[in-house]
Symmetry: C2
Subunit: 306 residues, 2 copies
């Protein structure tokens, strides 16, 4: 395969499904391309691919000398370490514009919507390519995942409209029920090593020169995490020491109550109060209404660090 | 007006026409937006707007506190100096991805085609908005300008297809003749101050830490420049001193012969030989087949400087 497409490190369902769908679309447009991912499937992504009978992409961590499309990120920190030796053909994303640059013209489809897969769904329409039933199913799941079943502040009308179309194509009658099934899988913590829970959806950011890690665990009920919360707090403290971070924040997001408990280890606790107006106690704080790392947590923290 | 859209510094016809057309499209999609430009019209752009009866955008050099769409660039060096204080809603472009970043999700339409206006033509189609006759005319001219009437190495089938549609919509029977009329205006040098000729289509680049200026003058016959060539060479030497450049290159491009004579002032002449395999003599060199600064000159020089 001469071209590879892949999402960010610690791939989530959007990164995996967007890579699969973009490879499908581009193949039909005549490109020799395969999907890849920078790490193993999460339980949620595994559930989604198995539900619709779609094969998992290969895990690839080195891309030197390859032609690549990035999906679901445009930050060097989220990209493979040897991205500088790859030739970037394009980016499909829905985040803020990161620090990836290129030395050749490229193809970017980056929209301010809730999920990369919403953009890819529109690309199928634009290029007049029919979306296969199984691909429609995983695109639908990715949008439900990234938008927390339409509850996230990042969710837009375009995401909802895409899901309506995708539900029809994939033959899903009850979108809400599919979303809850998926989030129950995502919520499960039994038998998972603590570090894996911390890293399930974890990203490092550079905020005004400070290394800041932000993880997020989304559950259908916070009580699911009662038995592991102390271990999670201890592990982010260890991770902070290992990584030399200024701060690590772990968001425990209750998608039904619509808010997040944040576990905090930081050289300066006051950034949380600066960012959210809430004083942490015992290394944690409840952030009411905060569901989205990208739209709510990262911008507020960046301002607090600036 | 709450939103402004504008192209790069020293605006060319693509930057001006793309801003006008994007504002038209976005207005029809419900946004409160106006086109702007960072500098005065070139004679070519003036000819194009007058030919199709389209008003020139306002010259605006400060964008602090504004919501903005960038067109035809994604480099901080090409953007307004206070771009950091603006809120970037999106980018429509056809260059390599530059060093602009954002702290919020945004809308990017960046394609590896010959002209930003080719992307905007497709955006009208995507959003199902009819292209007005006058806008079609200026989009057509911008594509003819950026692709040097389809002769540039950057020209793609998408640019040609867009021009076919745009010629129909704008009622232009002879696209080739329109292009030649436009390039004759662009070629004219009488009565133009030397510095204006140097700066007519001029950009500064950062190449591995070196400040490199590259200007381009496209003419229908190099002999048009015989009377001013010595003055141009002297002026880029002055400009180099003023700006503290490592090198300034001025491409005198003959669009009929399909090549460029490059005038050189540099701390290290050998970069031209490294980049193009041609040894300069008397501060100049003929680069056969080299028509595109973006696709041929910049990538080769970047490699030579690396
Ligand atoms: Mn995503
Ligand atoms: Mn252009």
């Amino acid at each position: 395969m001469s071209i590879l497409t892949f999402g960010h490190k610690n791939p989530d369902t959007d990164s995996v499904c967007a890579a699969i769908a973009l490879a499908d679309l581009k193949k039909k447009l005549g490109e020799d391309i395969a999907p890849a991912m920078q790490g193993e499937l999460t339980p949620e992504s595994k559930f989604v691919l198995e539900k619709f009978g779609v094969a998992a992409p290969e895990v690839v961590t080195s891309y030197a000398g390859k032609d690549v499309y990035l999906v679901d990120h445009s930050d060097l920190a989220q990209s493979p370490d040897d991205l500088g030796k790859a030739n970037i053909l394009g980016i499909v994303d829905h985040h803020k514009l990161g620090d990836v640059t290129t030395s050749q013209p490229l193809e970017c489809w980056i929209w301010p919507v809730g999920c990369t897969c919403t953009v890819i769904k529109s690309m199928y329409n634009f290029f007049n390519v029919e979306i296969p039933q199984d691909i429609a199913g995983i695109l639908l799941c990715a949008i439900l995942s990234d938008t927390v079943i339409f509850k996230s502040a990042t969710c837009t009308d375009k995401d909802k409209a895409a899901c309506e179309d995708l539900a029809k194509i994939s033959g899903v009658d009850d979108v809400q029920a599919l979303g809850m099934d998926m989030f129950k899988v995502k919520s499960a913590v039994e038998g998972t090593p603590i570090r894996d829970l911390v890293k399930r959806d974890y990203k490092d950011f550079d905020m005004s020169g400070n290394k800041v890690g932000i993880g997020q665990l989304e559950v259908v009920d916070l009580s699911i995490l009662d038995g592991v919360k102390a271990d999670l707090a201890a592990d982010i403290a260890t991770l902070k020491k290992e990584g030399g971070h200024h701060s690590i924040f772990l968001l425990l997001t209750d998608i039904i109550k619509e808010g997040s408990e944040v576990l905090i280890v930081s050289d300066d606790d006051s950034v949380i109060e600066k960012a959210f107006g809430v004083k942490p106690a015992d290394g944690k704080a409840w952030l009411d209404g905060v569901m989205s790392r990208k739209k709510q947590v990262v911008p507020n923290l960046e301002k607090a660090f600036a």
